[in-house]
Symmetry: C2
Subunit: 281 residues, 2 copies
């Protein structure tokens, strides 16, 4: 997805929010906003938003001298989601369609997104999403393709969300490679959290090599690029990965909640809609 003009004030807002989490020194935050301001004229609008995100979050690290501002928040989100894990597993056990309930939970976990700046309440929001209609629902195709495949590439998004991904991985019944970010970026999942959650026990965990808050192929490492090219069944979680991968000619199932109006419009849905969308349809 290209960058829209609406993304520009949002970049500034994200820099302010992340800067304030990274440091209490308001002068450094002002300096950060100055730098992001000067960067605007350099942003190629045909680039995807996560490419610019990578540059902005790198500036945040440099200026505030903090390369993992969301460390504590991620740990708290993961621990909270792990605490709720048995309750969510029970929802799967009690449901008529285990796979669908697990997909719903995986989409619900996508509310734990700190880039967008929306407030969320895990317990309440998950309950809502469990009974929400999908705006795009390629579920029959998902089941058909899942049956055919013998290997799944599953691209994670946020750290707390990965607990919900674990629940879905446990229902897929096929070998899964779970893909994380190379370095801490916003509250996205890295190897550290994937291991903490125990995803390494049920899947192969690899890094895509990206330093962007989304999967932008040319910024990824060769190993991931090869795996992505060969893959017959890819799950892409969240907005950042959608922004990076939409329009790519690969068999990707996008699972996300549309939290920002630009992405919602790009997909053709409303803000807060939930989506299970196949890229090749």
């Amino acid at each position: 997805m290209k960058t829209y003009l609406d993304c520009i004030p949002c970049f500034m807002e994200q820099a302010l929010n992340a800067g304030r989490i990274a440091t209490r020194d308001e002068k450094k935050v002002k300096n950060l906003l100055d730098e992001v301001g000067m960067l605007i004229k350099e942003i190629p609008m045909e680039h995807t938003p996560p490419e610019t995100g990578a540059i902005i979050y790198r500036k945040i690290s440099e200026i505030t001298n903090n390369n993992d501002p969301y460390k504590e928040i991620k740990a708290k989100n993961v621990s909270h989601a792990l605490h709720l894990y048995p309750k969510f597993k029970q929802k799967v056990d009690e449901s008529d369609d285990r796979l669908l309930t697990a997909i719903r939970l995986a989409v619900a976990g996508n509310i734990i997104d700190l880039g967008v700046g929306k407030k969320f309440n895990i317990t309440e929001d998950v309950e809502k999403i469990l009974s929400q209609e999908f705006a795009i629902f390629d579920y029959e195709l998902f089941k058909k393709e899942l049956e055919k495949t013998d290997d799944i590439l599953y691209i994670g998004d946020n750290a707390g969300e990965a607990v919900f991904d674990k629940i879905l991985i446990e229902e897929l019944g096929k070998p899964v490679t779970y893909v994380v970010r190379e370095i801490p970026i916003i509250n996205d999942v890295t190897k550290k959290e994937a291991i903490k959650i125990g995803i390494d026990k049920i899947a192969t965990v690899i890094s895509s090599g990206t330093t962007a808050p989304g999967t932008v192929l040319y910024l990824c490492n060769d190993d991931f690029k090869k795996k992505f090219k060969k893959a017959k069944f890819i799950i892409s979680k969240g907005q950042g990965n959608y922004e990076g991968l939409s329009g790519i000619d690969s068999p990707v199932f996008f699972m996300l909640r549309a939290k920002c109006p630009v992405i919602a419009k790009n997909i053709g849905v409303n803000v807060d809609d939930i989506i299970l969308k196949f890229s090749q349809r």
Copy 2:
């Protein structure tokens, strides 16, 4: 009021919104955002937000070649408010306290603010505000000072809001000088709209000389500055005037609805609270 870091993404958002109203050429809007981005490092945080607003809106005019982007919207707001004028006058006629009802209406009119970007519905919102508790309510002081004064300086804010100001002026029972902006800026009231509304029939209409979306004294003309300095009773409408005049040692009654979180925090109230606040208390 000084500029807060939170104002910076908001400047960018305002530039985007106003730019899109001023032109359909997205390239010009991007060029505008580039310019505003480069401006950020030049913003003195000790300046008031309307001072920066003046620079940004001048850039909008220059880049889009449109020096009154809100012209049609203002005309529509004024015409809509004039259409509702008899209904609102009736509310004053039917009330136990004519002055208080007129003040409430004048505050209610302050919802017609297109800088903040909030949506509003004149009829519904006015009804709500007519029964809303004031968060700060210096009404007794207002009545006491009003009785003593023989001259009122009334600083207007938005164009449509001026119809509501007219209702209050009609209840004040003292000579009023109604102050408007020098040039079109956002949807603020200028001489043109004040005359269209008929305020010139019941008050002396003058321009403060400001080209900012708020009253910043050093940017005003000498005539206004003299009048302001001598004034014993000043009414200041809306956020932009509050931002410019708060902290000044003059007898000002601020009437506004706190629509932005930064101003709400500065005043010590919540967003959407309504205020009748005396500066010298």
